[in-house]
Amino acid sequence: MAADPPPDPPAAVAFDRVRGRDMNVHVGDRIYHVGAGEAQPGTPDLDITSLENPGRLRPLAGHPVLARPADGRPVYSGGVHLSFTLSHNGAGRASVLVRGLSLEIVRFVPGADPDYAHRPEGAAIIGAGIVKPHVFTVSLFGDEAAPARWVVDAAAGQVRTARSANFFDTEDAQLLSVSPEGDVEEVRGTILAQEEGLYEVRLAWDYSVKGEDRRRVSEPILLYSDD
């Protein structure tokens, strides 16, 4: 007889918790089913919306989306805003424990490239004021990614910086769990390319289901900076 699933731990403070299971999930969104420890059909697993779904990757204000000459793939100038949702796949009763989110730099080509010469549109930089809470920011400096930073409360000066490559490894980190009956977790953030060059990066999610560690990775994202 299977043991009762553990109770849901509270959501991590850095998350923008979304109430209602269907909120922010687009009809027809693709989800990831790739990576190590792939689940068997009909068993509990983590659903992660694909970054290739419409609106999940958004260019920075005023920054053009360029195209890689070789294959026309989008190259986000300066950086990219991204979002995804985490939810239980609805199979079985066991909760899914999300342990980590990290960024892998697949490739970095340093230096300016005339193929990607651009200037952001100043008229699209609209002064609107205040740092948004509960989103992460990761800055890329060549082959290295700075630790993720979460603004919890700008007015109170509450900022959390990850202690490792895991975005969730903050000072008051709490484990995130998704259950079959639980909420959908929407995570939003921005990756900024700070050092000049072309970056190929991807996100990686580490999670556990019934004691088994699994890993998923996103499609590669191309970023370019010449600033």
Binding site: R119, E121, G122, A123, G127, G129, I130, V131, A154
Partner: protein, 463 residues
Amino acid sequence: MIQAMNTFEVLLQARGGFGYAGDDPDPRPLPPTTLGDLKESFEGGLQSAHRRRAQSIHEALYFAFYSDRFQGEPDRCITVPRDHLWWLVSAGDTILLSDRITHHYSFVFDVDRDTGRVSFLDQWPDRFFLKEGLNAAGVAAIPVDGKPPSITRKEFRRVAVGLITMDTPALLEDYFDEYPDQRSDAAQCLSCGLSLLGAQKDRFARPAALHLRRSMRAAEARGDPETAAVAAGKLYVALTVAGLSIRRWNEPLASRPFDDERSSLCAERGREELLSGLAPDDLCRMGNAAGRAGEVAMARELFDRAVALDATHEQARWLRAIARDQAGEPEGVVHDAAEAVRLNRAGVAALEAERDGLDPRDRHGRGAIDARIASMKERRGEEYVLLFRGRAALERWDEARSAAEDLIALDPDRSEGFKRLAFLEQQLGRLTEARACLQEALQRETHPAVRQALEHALAEISP
């Protein structure tokens, strides 16, 4: 540079700044405002202050500068190399800051060029995004020497998108003296000229001509005929307005240099070629300057061109009606004034629909549209007067009465409509009605000289 920080802003900061509307559970949407939009809004306020005599520096205007990291708004803002923003920034400036994620307008409190720090008097100082940890640019604003939070020159370079400063046209010359190589930057010189022309004051046409001439020559030198043609067309506008506005002050010889240069520009490029590249607004501007200088035929020709280019250009119709009125062509006045009124009504209806479509809490957006509507309705009043004059000159009395009544309905608290009705009744020999209208006009008129004239007219037709 003119220091614009006012006491109100300083006191506001001392009391903790504005409440932040974004803290509301359902905050009102912000209208998207670019650096150029904000500059034009400030400029409108400045010109209004000049008219009210609340601001006495008549050479003052606002300039907006973008860092060349960005494509600016070249028709109303000047793009400069990013390092030059440090030379331009001064206390009182409005500055657009960005770390690529958060974009924010703030005020410059002080620039200390000796220590290389710039401090900001922000509206929401507690959560100013340049404080350490709140931005992605690695900037750490800290208070130094008792001043509000400040950042270093190097940090400023990373986050400054652009700034708005109030100054005089001399600022641009000082800038070019500091960075003489920029004089050969055709695009930058063109933006300087357009910024001055865009301030809509004839006194700035003269310095505008200097920058537009430079732009044209620089573009020619580097083989850029497109920019050279735009600069040449705008130079023609600037020379025309500058020359005519000086002539207005009864200094005939003073306009000679502008007239001569305009002639040689026409000889070089052809007048038709120059005029063909201009928009109706440019043609109206020159026509208006010509009309004010008494060059009615020239004004008329320019307004004809503007109407030919865009028959639905209300301002062109209105101005041509004035020129036709001065030329004694009542049929033409009636035609253009009636069309101007029709276009004005349609324009106001479109603006009202735009305003009514805004979020009800967007009071700034609604206020801005209401100001435009009020300005358009004021112009419609002048169009009704022209319509009345034309119809009265043609002795089409019923139609003239209708124009006067429309004028009263538009602004019942002013004397204008009643004055016209009084004239009409007098012309028709209905002196009792004429007296009643003059009484109505007198009740509303506040200008002493006009009141005196009305009293005189009333006395003349009293039994």
